[in-house]
Amino acid sequence: MGLAQRAVSALTYNQMVVGIEAPQGSKVADRIENADVDLLFHALADSTRRDIIARTIEREQSVSSLAEHYAMSFAAVQKHVAVLQRASLVTKEKRGREQIVYGNPSTLRVASHLIKAYEDLWNQRALRMAQILSADDHPKEATKEQTDK
């Protein structure tokens, strides 16, 4: 699958441990494949864009009313909206002369899944560390250890 391949070929850091293969048919995997991960996090990596998401999830609004909140040109705000749109974080609709923007909470949930899963990587490591430490109190399980305590 695309994500795993891409991640394996380009990943650095220690996450080689998780880089091999994702189980097929997972609901999460399907959702992630549909959303482009790079676009998603690129879109989220900007505070103005995060603010736009927050406002448009709360209630839909026009690009011009959004633009009133920021010390930047209408065109600049429009650009931010376009980045969010490409990442499926917001949807933009033309209504008459206005462009109405509303947020897509489901895409935001995909992002939070990704972050949660990274946390799980370290959670799992910490759990395994704790298991080894707890074996210190159970000598029969600790025989594998080669350190002198």
């Binding site: 994500l3 795993a4 891409r6 991640a7 394996v8 380009a10 990943l11 650095t12 850091y13 220690n14 996450q15 080689m16 441990v17 998780v18 880089g19 091999i20 293969e21 994702a22 189980p23 997972s26 999460v28 995997a29 992630i32 991960v37 790079d38 998603l40 996090f41 690129h42 989220l44 990596a45 899944h113 990704l114 972050i115 949660k116 899963a117 990274y118 946390e119 799980d120 990587l121 370290w122 959670n123 799992q124 490591r125 910490a126 759990l127 395994r128 560390m129 704790a130 298991q131 080894i132 430490l133 707890s134 210190d136 109190d137 159970h138 594998k144 250890e145 080669q146 350190t147 305590k149």
Partner: protein, 165 residues
């Protein structure tokens, strides 16, 4: 074991993980220092890590591989850049080719680990530094896959085992 916090800073491109253990700083340090103990927790049970070399000294190099369920052996390396036993160390961490030599095509990551003595135990803080937004995103994407494996029941197995509280 208590997970205290996990912080993601998309501006600084860091991920910080904090956990507390009911063991001394020296004991938790051994989990990193001793390659036989390190390989018992670094990789998930179905992707075990084998450290062929682990020079846990400043400037030292580690070479390791994972074994996949399909029998493939992707390789990685660390270079320890700072060691202040038993409280702090830093390392670069990257992919290696089949000979175990660093793969220059892939930029390494950097991590800082600190162990602090707290009442009755140790607080471990792991901060991962990423050099680009792209790298950061990919790591987040990778973590997602680990998360899915957990969902497949591995976590339940771990939770059934006695774990220090």
């Amino acid at each position: 074991m208590t997970v205290v916090s996990i912080d993601k800073d998309t501006t600084a491109l860091t991920l910080t993980f904090v956990a507390e253990f009911d063991a001394t700083v020296e004991r938790v340090w051994q989990l990193w220092e001793d390659p036989r103990q390190l390989e018992r927790w670094w990789g998930p049970p179905n992707y075990p890590a084998t450290f062929e070399q682990h020079e846990f000294v400043t400037g030292g190099t580690s070479k390791y591989y994972m074994t996949t369920p399909e029998g493939e052996k992707p390789r990685g390396w660390w270079t320890i850049t700072v060691i202040e036993a038993p409280h702090r160390f830093e390392f670069d961490d990257g992919f290696a080719d089949d000979n175990g030599d660093p793969d220059p095509a892939i930029e390494p990551g950097h991590a800082v680990v600190t162990l602090e003595s707290i009442d009755g135990g140790t607080r471990m803080t792991t901060t991962s530094y990423f050099t680009s937004e792209e790298q950061f995103n990919r790591v987040l994407a990778m973590g997602m896959e680990e998360g899915m494996r957990d969902a497949m029941g591995q976590i339940d197995e771990l939770l059934l085992e006695p774990v220090a509280r």
